[in-house]
Amino acid sequence: MIGLLASILDGVLVGAVYGLAAMGITLIWGVMHVVNLTHGAMIVAGMFAVYLFVGATGMPAYAALAPVIVGGFLAGVALYWVAIHRMIGQPPLMSLLATFSVNLVLIGLGTDVWGTVLFNVPVSLPGFSLGRYTFPGTHLMAAALTAVIAGALYFFLYRTRAGKAVRAVAGNREAAELVGIPTTRILALSCGLGVALACVSGALIATLFPFTVLSGDAYQLKSFVVTVLGGMGNPTGALVAGVALGLLEGVATPFMPVSWTLVIEFVLFVVVLIAFPGGLLSVRLRRGRKPG
């Protein structure tokens, strides 16, 4: 029984971080209908950022989160202007290919500089034990920081003018233009936010597990699954779906071979696509009325 509880709790803690990663993809999709295939590379960028920060300053890894968020935001804005701006309004495949190309460039450069050797960010935090089971302090801290960042994003989107503008553009870009919202700037801002979320989730993941330049692919795939489960364009849904996926992994693993976990996740993915095409929580980021 304690083993099951331990598994569930672990799953929820790590699932929260997956949810944070997925919020980045879903935000960008919700605002500009772009599938950002640089997501994995940006997660890895966040991992390397915290590794280099710790190496250069000797400060704790968590002190790197603020600069990672700022750096990720700027990278996201740059990504928008380089690869996405001209693809807005074009068929989705164009933006997909554009971001995929940027992804290949980034991974290629990363491999050239660092190879595919393993990197590790040493973090030591006291955890707590439940019987023979230990919950590492790093998992608890990552989940707590995820909650803080998600809360900050919610505050931004629903309590600030800029956030309102983001939601307005997501709802109806033409109408937003008509009321004087500089939509192009908002799109760049949204891209910056999405990439910042990817980078900071990578930074948190780096405190949990070792990583390589190629680590982003697995998290990117998980992010897409979580995004679809939570509803495309729904950041809250993404966070909830991430936690739910972690919970599923925690519940399933004690009762079946671990190799079945992926099978169950993707069966669930397909079932949700069929039964709830909008996602389990399909209240969208946009709340505008469609023009009549």
């Binding site: 598994s7 595919t116 070792p210 190629l214 693993t253 071979p257 671990v258």
Partner: protein, 401 residues
């Protein structure tokens, strides 16, 4: 005027043999995973092979009868992908006219390359493919220079048995051909040794979070862990076993802990054992080629990277091919093949001998694994040889907890 032209003409005639007689060259083809998840170990293997090539060429080339042949490599990036291996080995044979081949890194890619090399009847030496199935298909030109997967964990099991004959073992391993082959054989050896198998499960190679599996290990009551896969998953397992205080008395992980980079895990690396094809501290007395100490020292001097077993296995493929050519006195493939069949030698890498049984032709039957463990020495993490007794540099640290 004619006399004036005669002088340069004579000069050119004297120099001509130097220009016209191009060096005799052997072309060896191979793919390397310059990109993709197998990059680290594959590039280490290439490093060893290149070191051998450079040494041989500096000494004037391989002696075959009355001729000397310089060695030329043709390499391509297989991107760690089987489909690319198939295309590229065909290209190496048909377009690049490679006379001999070295295999790619990993059992999966080796199996793919072997189909092509056998189809074209090209000798291929393998430094990085341990799964035995590939060598049980009636091959004629495939030669495995490293220990087969079946014996990877033999040493780890023997070492554990000496400390705890009633160990409760958890086998957790990557769902790839190499790891599955290792554990399938290790399971039988563990049962024969009197161990209880508390847990046996595979995980997808792309697994990033091992917390659920580690909780399962704890729930099973296992006191020893054997498994892993390749590089990233093995290192992540080691870290998470430490973070979650799994309380295991013995941990043996495949491949990853052999890399010098494993020390980046800090305290999580301490006490982890790794089965190894070769370590710098081995005491083999070679029939030819460098001693283990010379190899380790010269590799580091040349490459600025410490030699690991992948580097050593890259070097040994070249050394054994060289020896076979020299014994054959020719680069004729059938004569070289016959010489390889007769190989029964000890080098810095250990004893090497190839099976000549048609059902397992070319499988390695001479080489043995060693077992190393990360231990603290003078405040630094160092890899010590802990098994077999004849080769060890330190006692096995047991129990870890």
């Amino acid at each position: 005027m004619r006399k004036l032209l005669l002088i340069p003409a004579i000069g050119i005639c004297l120099a001509a043999p130097g220009f016209a007689a191009a060096e005799d060259t052997i072309t060896i083809g191979m793919t390397v995973s310059q990109t993709g998840p197998l990059n680290v170990d594959s590039v280490a293997q290439l490093r060893g092979a290149e070191f051998w090539r450079d040494e041989v060429n500096a000494a004037g080339g391989i002696k075959a009868g009355n001729k000397r042949y310089k060695v030329r490599f043709v390499t391509y990036d297989d991107q760690s992908v089987g489909g690319r291996v198939q295309q590229l080995y065909t290209r190496l044979i048909v377009q690049d006219k490679a006379q001999f081949l070295f295999g790619p890194y990993s059992s999966g890619l080796t199996a793919t390359a072997a189909v092509i090399s056998e189809q074209y009847g090209k000798i291929m030496l393998i430094g990085g493919g341990a799964e035995p199935k590939t060598y049980q298909l009636g091959n004629k030109y495939l030669f495995q220079c490293i220990t087969i997967a079946d014996y990877y964990l033999s040493g780890a099991i023997q070492a554990l048995k000496e400390k705890n004959p009633h160990a409760k073992v958890a086998f957790v391993y990557s769902d790839d051909p190499f790891s599955k082959a290792v554990v399938a054989a290790a399971h039988k050896q563990a049962v024969d040794a009197g161990f209880t198998i508390a847990l046996e499960e595979s995980y997808a190679p792309s697994t990033t979070d091992f917390s659920p599996i580690i909780n399962k290990i704890i729930s099973s009551g296992a006191d020893a862990f054997l498994g892993g896969g390749h590089y990233p998953d093995g290192a992540t397992l080691a870290r998470q076993l430490y973070d979650q205080k799994a309380g295991l008395k013995y941990v043996a992980i495949l491949v990853a802990p052999d890399s010098p980079k494993f020390t980046t895990l800090g305290p999580a690396a301490l006490g982890v054992t790794v089965p190894s094809q070769w370590e710098p501290q081995v005491k083999y007395k070679p029939d030819f080629g460098p001693t283990p100490e010379q190899f380790a020292k010269e590799t580091f001097a040349k490459t600025k990277v410490e030699a690991d077993y992948h580097t050593a296995s890259g070097y040994i493929t070249g050394l054994l091919l060289q020896h076979a050519i020299e014994q054959a006195g020719s680069i004729d493939p059938e004569k070289v093949k016959a010489a390889l069949d007769k190989t029964d030698v000890t080098t810095f890498f250990g004893h090497d001998q190839f099976s000549t049984d048609p059902k397992s032709h070319g499988m390695q039957i001479g080489h043995q694994m060693v077992l190393a463990q990360w231990q603290m020495k003078n405040g630094k993490l160092e890899k010590e040889m802990v098994w077999p007794d004849a080769a060890k540099t330190a006692d096995l640290n047991y129990p870890l907890h």
